[in-house]
Symmetry: C2
Subunit: 352 residues, 2 copies
């Protein structure tokens, strides 16, 4: 495997990495969360007989799916095709991904005994993921590959609720009622997540994104007390590549998510990027780097409306020290993929 | 029917009305969004053979369900048992409420012709609602009854999507692509909503709450352009009682929601009340009145944790000109109702 520093030196002028480092790239870099997935017919084709988790542990399939949006759209980064629960599955936790439902945990984790019984994750258990990263890198050329992990809070919610949850009520009840058990659980998940990212970096990803999909369900106060120490532990355990930190509905949490150790903070569409930059700026510090923040629903509108919104996002992003153009959440499944390609062409014609 | 001014004079010292007017009540007023509903066994009993919409148009059942939480918990207000789609149904739009799904619209409204074909709502079509308000008032004594309506954006999302929606993508696509059609639709819904609230005020409710459940899916910019004029129209069309305006995840929208004409702005748990007060304060204006904002999930925790959070909410609410204690969203269905009663007792023992 190639050390991360050598990886970085292989793609020094890639617009995404230039922007992530606070520089001005040749053109604004753009990629889309969930670009590898349901919006693409070629994805639905290769996945039609393969369950999600089987796909995530099959290196050549991960490689193919990861590359599909790069080939089709000409985006400035690939994102490793995976799922938030992959490291849990690799560690031996019984989780399945049920179509139409999402992850289903066979034995939800709701007390101290269940937390104590959680397995740890050894790097070797992630060999298929490392192999997939190697395959992708061999095909990608100078386009950076972004590694991927779910953050401890989001993983904890799946484990405690037993699946996707709208209100995270068992999660929050445990958090408020049993803080010791809570912190033990998030500590264990931080270790697993750190290992997951370290393996990807060791295999050569050029950046990582930590997704805390559901952190926006928390107030800043609770985020700082119950979550921030663990996400900080994860981001502190990985080095050598830029670290992107993202959640939805996190307007109140942006400074805390930066403090966790992020080089780039992802912003959803509810907060304009110039306002996000204001919230993220530390007195005397460099201008923060942001990623985002086109509303994915905008991509269902007429292209005139899309173009107007894309131009606005790029213009507002100029307030930042660096800007990676993206959506404010994942691509919606019924997005027309030709629209994504047109957005990439549009962004590439704009001035950073 | 009793004019609103006489209604207000009947209950001048009710803590909720004192707080809504920016005064200091004898004790902090408290009620719970969705207090009349699924958390109560006596509610499940009376509803077990009655479909939701049938219940909403049966005055003695509306009366019973509205009174149940007042009897049980001793809350400082009743909230009229109803549903966001009730005025649409009354106007003759084919909407059903399907258990486990929510409202289902037979013919979604997605173009200018469908908007032009929408019926208007005459006050007489709401006679069962007016009768229910009269029955409740006769039983309530000095406890104020809060009237209820969904705001135009939330109603529009149901009509356009055809039912509940996570991403509101067709709604936003119409909003961005066909602004004329959009504004015509929201204008029609504002008329219907204004009539719905006027009928309730005419029948004697002591306050109204406009629920824009899903406004938090919008940026402030889009809210101001596409929604605010219509919610302003609704709140401007009703008078004589305090007007509460609430949505979930609206930290970015609080000033705009006040500007719509709200006397009281509801706040969810993501923004502490003292920070909400800061955002809502107009230079030179009176201190704003707020409602909220305990996380409903907290009620699933141990009572020690609940008490700590309730005390924090009441303390932070002292920054406001007036504070109505409530949750930051509706009561979750599996909340233990005895906990709600204990929270009311706790709040009533605190200093406003």
């Amino acid at each position: 495997m190639t050390p991360a520093s050598e990886t970085a030196s292989r793609v020094p002028t890639a617009p995404l990495l230039v922007a992530a480092a606070g520089g001005t790239p040749a053109h604004p870099p753009v990629w889309f969360m969930r670009q590898a997935g349901r919006s693409l017919p070629e994805y639905r084709e290769v996945r039609k007989d393969v369950p999600m988790l089987q796909a995530c542990f099959t290196p050549d399939l991960v490689c193919e799916i990861t590359l599909q949006p790069v080939r089709r759209h000409g985006v400035d980064a690939a994102i490793l095709f995976s799922d938030i629960v992959v490291p849990l599955v690799a560690a031996g936790i019984d989780v399945d991904i049920v179509p139409g439902t999402g992850p289903v945990v066979a034995s939800p984790v709701r007390d101290a005994d269940a937390v104590a019984a959680l397995p740890t994750l050894a790097a070797e258990q992630l060999d298929p993921v490392a192999q997939a990263v190697g395959l992708v890198r061999a095909e990608l050329g100078d386009t950076p590959l972004i590694g991927f992990a779910g953050a401890p809070f989001t993983l904890a919610s799946y484990l405690i609720e037993g699946g996707p949850s709208r209100h995270h009520e068992r999660t929050k009840a445990l958090m408020y009622s049993r803080p010791d058990t809570w912190h033990a659980l998030l500590g264990a998940l931080a270790e697993i997540t750190a290992t997951f990212l370290q393996v990807q970096i060791g295999a050569g990803v050029a950046a990582v994104q930590l997704f805390d999909s559901w952190a926006g369900a928390l107030s800043e106060r609770d985020y700082r007390e119950y979550v921030l120490p663990h996400s900080t532990r994860v981001l502190g355990a990985v080095s050598g590549v830029p670290k992107i930190h993202f959640g939805v509905g996190t307007g109140e949490l942006l400074p805390a998510m930066r403090e966790a150790g992020a080089d780039v903070v992802g912003v959803d569409w509810r907060v304009p990027l110039d306002e996000a930059v204001r919230r993220l700026t530390v007195p005397g510090g460099p201008a923060p780097v942001v990623q985002g923040n086109l509303d994915p629903a905008v991509l269902l509108a007429d292209f005139d409306a899309i173009e107007r919104e894309v131009r606005r996002v790029v213009a507002q992003g100029r307030a930042a020290g660096g800007h990676i153009v993206n959506l404010g959440h994942g691509v919606l499944p019924n997005t027309d993929p030709t629209v994504l390609t047109r957005v990439v062409e549009l962004v590439h014609g704009l001035t950073p």
